[in-house]
Amino acid sequence: MFNLVIGQYVPMESLVHRLDPRSKLISMFLFVIIVFLANNWLSYGLLILFCLASITASKLPFQFIYRGLRSVFFIVFLTFILNLFFTNGGLLLFSWGWLHIYLNGLIQSIFISFRILVIIVITTLLTLTTSPIEITDGLESLLHPLKRIKLPVHEFALMMSISLRFIPTLLEETEKIIKAQAARGSDFTTGSIKSRFKAVVPLLVPLFVSAFKRAEELAMAMEARGYHGDEGRTKLHRLVWNNRDTVLLLILAIMTIALILFRY
């Protein structure tokens, strides 16, 4: 049930794990942007190659990333179908009633599917190889200049790290409550849509109650330990920018140029 890997850090020793979170974040954002530059087989090949290389360098088993992707296959499939039927032009491959499939539509939908897949692989890879704390430290450090214009960067970073931190906890809690209600005869998997929808109430109410309770306790525990915002607060883990981080950004820059060149 909970094979959603997104947001679940796997502590391991690898090149990708050791990279500075800032370089990983910048690369990820850049990657997500340049994915939209790709418009032919060559450029999509390059993007997929980059993904495969990153996965290999992260030493995570392919199968593990595939497991995380399974939950989004439906979305990919849906966009594939939509693009398949609603893009016109090129050779008519198939037609049945008002349904037509054109060659351009087929190519377009394959491209779009790859586009979604590579974006998800790269973002999943970021969260699999970077602990939530590293990600927020990285974000906070990257967004630091925005404090000049009075944006509460630290508070945003804190909110984010707390949310990320509690995703696994809430999933665990959900699993526990599902089990407890299943033991009382609640049935989430069979019956009509209406009865299944009703079966969710005994799950959601306890989940919200405990989430609010947890939030309150966390706030009090933080205050009790003297938390008072980022004024004068030091960092336990200083971020260190190494050569490998510069190299990663260079690779991304070269890829960007390559993708722009491939377009024409």
Partner: protein, 295 residues
């Protein structure tokens, strides 16, 4: 209803970096009408074992027989559909911190949730709910109030009533007294003792509390690192003090007291077992009179 566990192994998240073997070739029987305590360290596989007994978890290999239903592990399973609902109606499960599962607007509705799920008619479910709330000593003035208005101990008792209202033959308890004060603990344990003695319900309790395990159970099962270390009567299990200490468990305080006393006054270690205050007092008297070797 007898429950038998045959060579059950359970692996969490197989095929991922988080893979972990939680049960390793466990075989144990829970005879009808018995009271069994499962003891062991945090992470020893106690709760994992308990969750197999009503099909919340399914064995990776091995099998579990509950009444006339068999849960097979591994590849044999997928072929036939298992009627979990029938199993869960007969085997109730009180989770750790069961108050976290309350959700209804009123106590009565929440307690009646289980019976209604199992197809009990509305009015009968209401009757059972009232009877069970009485059984756990919740005054009727509270019955129409929200469960979230109650104190922690009261919420716990309402949640337990919610499981009892299904009228299961077997009741699994996962640390039912965790986080309660001594009085609340005694009330809850007395309730289960009464259900066991008077209504002959089978009770399987996961616990950290050695005294509860010694006082109330007929059988004690000791788990360590996913394996079953020993199983037997409380007297048998708690007489093997060294074996327990090796895996970081202690005997009940009464037994420790008698052993220390024997050491102090220099008599040989007695072979008796005493778990209640009265038995302990008798044992102390015998020790002091110097005839401990004969008891």
């Amino acid at each position: 209803m007898d429950i038998t566990v045959n060579h059950v192994t359970h692996t969490y998240q197989p095929g991922t970096p988080f893979m972990r073997m939680a049960l390793n070739d466990v075989s144990v029987a829970f005879p009808s009408g018995s009271f069994t305590s499962i003891i062991g360290h945090t992470g020893s596989g106690k709760s994992t074992l308990a969750q197999h007994l009503n099909g919340l978890l399914l064995p990776s290999t091995g099998s579990i027989t509950a009444g006339d239903l068999t849960l097979e592990g591994g590849s044999k399973r997928k072929k036939k559909k298992i009627n979990f609902k029938a199993l869960r109606e007969k085997v109730g499960y009180v989770f750790q911190y069961p108050e976290h599962q309350l959700f209804e607007e009123t106590l009565l509705k929440d307690v009646a949730f289980g019976p209604i799920n199992f197809g009990v008619p509305q009015d009968e479910a209401g009757r059972r709910a009232k009877a069970c709330l009485e059984l756990v000593h919740i005054p009727s003035a509270f019955w129409e109030r929200s469960p979230f208005d109650l104190s922690g101990g009261q919420m716990r008792r309402v949640a337990i009533a919610g499981v009892l209202a299904v009228q299961p033959e077997v009741i699994i308890l996962d640390e039912p007294t965790a986080g309660l004060d001594p009085r609340g603990r005694k009330e809850i344990m007395d309730l289960f003792d009464q259900l066991h003695r008077q209504q002959k319900r089978t009770i399987i309790m996961v616990t950290h509390n050695m005294s509860d395990a010694a006082l109330y159970s007929d059988q004690v099962v000791v788990m360590n690192h996913g394996s079953l270390i020993m199983a037997g009567s409380p007297a048998e299990v708690f007489s093997r003090d060294e074996a327990l200490q090796r895996i970081g468990l202690e005997s009940p305080e009464t037994m420790q007291f008698i052993r220390r006393l024997a050491e102090k006054i220099g008599t040989p270690q007695p072979t008796l077992s005493a778990f209640t205050m009265e038995d302990t007092a008798d044992a102390v008297l015998k020790l002091l009179k110097g005839d401990a070797a004969h008891v």
